[in-house]
Amino acid sequence: MLHLVNKSPYDGSNLNTATSIMKSGDTLLLIEDGVYGAVKAGKAASLLEGHTVSVLGPDLAARGITKDKLADGINVVDYAGFVDMVEANDKVQSWL
């Protein structure tokens, strides 16, 4: 199962809810304003611990976040990689 979070973890509760529902084997993809959750130095990064997390590269770049700022173990994908993740998982849950 693929989980999408598109909002800042500092504004909404979506990342919190998503990570509380995720099972081992599930993957989280941060997109749009959700990518702020991937920044290592941010308070919200602790929510990602123990989860498989990817982040959408074009959204990272738009927000001026370089890869060295990301929490450890986070995979960066482009839109093609996003499509692959949707294909590789049996279903998608958008935490809107």
Binding site: L4, N6, K7, I31, E32, D33, P58, D78, Y79, A80, F82, V83, D84, V86, E87, K91, V92, S94, L96
Partner: protein, 130 residues
């Protein structure tokens, strides 16, 4: 693989319509099929031909219309949502006594059943919204 994409927000206000477009394009580039793109809630506002974005900005509506034309994609605006937001085709104009239409090329107005059908017939359903 066959995808159905749901778009819940209008153009420009939220990034959802952009992300949905880039996702759809990437899926097509990889040889996947888009069974349907269903526009719901304010998402129906993606289907008005009356927008004139600034010259140095993307034209979200035209981008959808071109994608539909090039790849023969079924792009459906929910009729109930479209009526609430004022997106009108010829049939709706006649039924509701409207003196103008604003639907953009490549879009059609239909019922919510089209979304459910998309969920049934597709291998994956992906929702983009706020």
């Amino acid at each position: 693989m066959k995808f159905t994409i749901q778009v819940n927000e209008g153009p420009y206000q939220h990034q959802s319509a952009d992300t949905a477009y880039h996702f759809a394009k990437a899926a097509l580039d990889k040889g996947h099929e888009i069974f349907r793109i269903f526009f719901y809630h304010d998402g129906v506002n993606n289907g008005t031909r009356l927008t004139t974005p600034p010259q140095d900005d993307r034209n979200i509506v035209n981008r959808w219309s071109e994608l539909a034309r090039e790849h023969d994609i079924d792009m459906v605006l929910c009729v109930a949502a479209a009526q609430r937001r004022g997106i009108v085709d010829d049939g709706e104009a006649e039924r509701n006594g409207k003196d103008a239409t604003n639907i953009a090329p490549g879009f059609r107005i239909s019922g919510l059943g089209q979304l459910i059908e998309g969920g049934i017939e597709s291998d994956r359903t992906i929702v983009f919204g706020d």
